[in-house]
């Protein structure tokens, strides 16, 4: 059984976000695992009820800090498809560009954390230094480093003048050139490879059965990417590849994400080169009939799924299925059983969890899902 249970508890120097993994250890080997989360639950889905559609864009950005643009894009995609709006090409190009920039910065901070968990703190500092250039681009273009607020229904808040777009390409190119040697370190360095290859294995069958998405699935050979299978914004106009590795271990997932950095660079360059010169429509309040719709987009961590119900031109219900939720609770245990405790931070980091996104409360009663309002919930569960 286990010698003792170690709580890699809510506060931990290795994790960016609070989660509790209670690992049963025998010497250095993990024999039992229990994942608990819920420490950052804010009740976001409840907050959305009753808000207007235009306000909803800004609220849904704030679900997560790293993939904020993805949430915003998902929301706008859902509404625009529901209303059948025709979005101009320039808007679509610019939206893809900002999404790809967001993917760049998310993968770079992930790579930094990966290096830090493996012990290579210097690489972490260097990657963060390069990431600052991307953050500066985003701040100049949209006004915010984390929450951009640039999407509006059917249009954008600001247009980006073409001169600024040229500078953007320069900066992205400089960053990607500078991080080449760090990517090379992940690819070739002996000690890093030693720690990453063969750790946290998930079989391809498990991957298919659990329905995991994103770079974790692509590291197991499953080639699915919403940008290719269900294109949105301007992705059908860009020529890029979806990197897939068959290794099923932490190294494959690392390489998938690092190569996605370069693919994002390609997309940004192509879309900026081909951007049409037109005027962006002004912002108007949205009026919508009652109805519901769903849409999905490719967040940096996988497929993000939004289901939206509208009543009276206000949001009645917003249900979000984030990629971390699809991956983490299922895969953590098979990936970590039998590994050494020194591999635990590496495996968790290679799955790239985003707990702020993940926090949902789903109550399943007798096999059927039920949604509780706040007074009901309090009455039933707090014993008052």
């Amino acid at each position: 059984m286990h010698d003792f249970i170690v709580p890699f508890g809510p506060q931990h120097p290795a994790e960016k976000e609070p989660m509790c993994i209670r690992a049963g250890l025998e010497g250095e080997t993990i024999t039992e695992l229990d994942l608990r989360f819920g420490y950052v639950h804010r009740g976001m889905e409840k907050i959305f009820e009753g808000k207007g559609i235009d306000q909803g864009i800004y609220l849904c950005e704030r679900i997560c800090g790293l993939c904020s643009e993805s949430h915003s894009m998902a929301f706008t995609r859902t509404i625009e498809e529901m209303l059948g709006l025709d979005v101009p090409m320039r808007v679509r190009h610019l939206r893809s560009i900002v999404t790809e920039l967001s993917r760049l910065h998310s993968h770079m901070i992930w790579a930094g954390f990966m290096a830090h968990e493996a012990g290579y703190e210097t690489l972490f500092m260097y990657l963060m230094r390069e990431r600052e250039r991307i953050m500066d681009i985003l701040e100049r273009t949209t006004g915010g480093r984390v929450h951009y607020g640039i999407n509006k229904i059917g249009t954008l808040r600001y247009d980006v003048p073409n001169a600024k777009l040229a500078k953007m390409v320069e900066d992205v190119d400089t960053t990607l050139k500078n991080i080449e040697k760090y990517v090379d370190t992940f690819r070739n360095d002996g000690t890093l490879k030693e720690r990453l290859v063969g750790t946290g294995m998930i079989t391809g069958i498990q991957a298919k059965r659990f329905g995991i998405v994103g770079p974790v699935a692509r590291g197991c050979g499953i080639n699915n990417d919403v940008r290719k299978s269900d294109p949105y914004a301007a992705y059908d106009l860009a020529d890029f590849e979806v990197p897939t590795y068959k290794g099923c271990d932490a190294w494959s997932r690392t390489m998938v994400r690092l190569e996605e950095l370069y693919e994002s660079g390609k997309i940004i360059r192509q879309l900026i080169k081909d951007i049409p010169d037109e005027k962006i429509p002004a912002f108007k309040f949205t009026k919508a009939d009652d109805g519901d719709h769903f849409a999905r987009i490719e967040a940096p961590r996988g497929e993000l799924f939004y289901y939206l119900k509208v009543r009276d031109s206000k949001i009645d219900r917003l249900a979000i299925r984030t990629p971390s939720m699809a991956v983490l609770p299922m895969v953590l245990k098979p990936a970590l059983m039998g590994e050494k405790v020194s591999d635990l931070p590496i495996v968790i980091s290679s799955l790239d969890p985003c707990f702020s996104c993940m926090e949902r409360v789903v109550i399943v009663e007798k096999g059927k899902e039920k949604v509780y309002t706040e007074p009901d919930f309090r009455r039933k569960f707090s014993g008052r």
Binding site: A14, L25, G119, T191, L192, S342
Partner: protein
């Protein structure tokens, strides 16, 4: 005979250690494109820690937890007093020094085991696994030097330029010095992302200050000892310059390496130990014939 400035050296040992630590942090930060803390930062840290609340949970109030860190610090300080000429004083057997170095490490392990948290225990266990290989290696390397020079005690040691005579032992000493300091790539007992702080996790306040200080004092100790054996102390400015150069090299290696896992680290130590043993055998053969 005990000179007054030698007494001053022993009393100032913590200050030297904290200064080394300050240099290491500042230098390491600059290598990472960061600004880094001021050079005197470790002094401020230690003073702050000494004034903080020392919280001891009920379950942990065993005698090792209460006094372990203090004894550890005491031992390290004593080693400083026994440092070879011309830094400190006292004629004594070099075996005493090796014994004390191993004892300090043993107290680190005891402190880790005495805390009731799994993190301390894991850290202590990892250190136990490593210590079997590298401490013996350290002892073997030091013994080789003394055997070769034919000295009977520290005061009589007169070998200069150990590299040409005993290359394997010199390299081994330099490497194992780094291992004893528990810096990257050999810092598994204190691996931050994995086990919080290893043996340090449950300590706070004064005890943490003592424990950290005893670890920090090992750095100048090992650097001085290594350089004494390899270079000798014929020229004091050269000695101190070489100490700073070695500190720089250790910091550099710390910054550009990732961490070795316990099993790989132990295998590595065993290889080094094997090489050192071979050289000891060769030296003994030479001395006897």
């Amino acid at each position: 005979m005990v000179d007054s400035w030698r007494i001053a050296f022993v009393l100032l040992a913590p200050a030297i250690a904290l200064l080394f630590e300050g240099i290491r942090r500042r230098l390491g930060a600059r290598m990472q494109s960061r600004v880094g803390p001021p050079l005197l930062q470790p002094f401020y840290d230690t003073i702050k820690l000494l004034s903080k609340d020392d919280f001891v949970a009920e379950k942990e109030s065993n005698i090792f937890f209460q006094y372990g860190p203090f004894v550890s610090l005491l031992f390290v300080w004593v080693i400083f007093a026994l440092m070879p000429f011309p830094l400190a004083s006292f004629e004594h057997d070099f075996i005493l020094m090796i014994y004390l170095i191993i004892l300090v490490d043993a107290f680190y392990i005891v402190s880790g085991l005495a805390s009731n948290s799994p993190f301390g225990i894991i850290g202590a266990m990892r250190e136990m696994a490593s210590i079997i290989a590298y401490e013996i290696g350290l002892a073997v390397a030091v013994i080789t030097f003394f055997f070769y020079s034919g000295a009977n005690s520290i005061g009589e040691f007169t070998l200069v330029n150990g590299f040409t005579h005993l290359p394997v032992s010199s390299l081994g000493l330099l490497l194992l010095g780094l291992v004893t300091l528990k810096k990257r790539p050999f810092d598994t007992p204190e691996a931050h992302p994995e086990i919080f702080d290893g043996a340090f996790t449950e300590y706070s306040g004064k005890r943490l200050a003592f424990l950290r200080l005893s670890e920090q004092m090992k750095e100048p100790l090992l650097i001085f000892l290594t350089l004494f054996l390899i270079l000798g102390t014929s020229s004091l400015p050269l000695f101190f310059a070489a100490s700073l150069a070695l500190l720089f090299v250790y910091t550099f290696i710390d910054m550009v390496s990732s961490r070795l896992k316990v099993e790989h680290a132990v295998k590595f130590y065993m290889v080094v130990l094997a090489a050192l043993l071979l050289e000891l055998v060769w030296v003994s053969y030479q001395v006897i014939t």
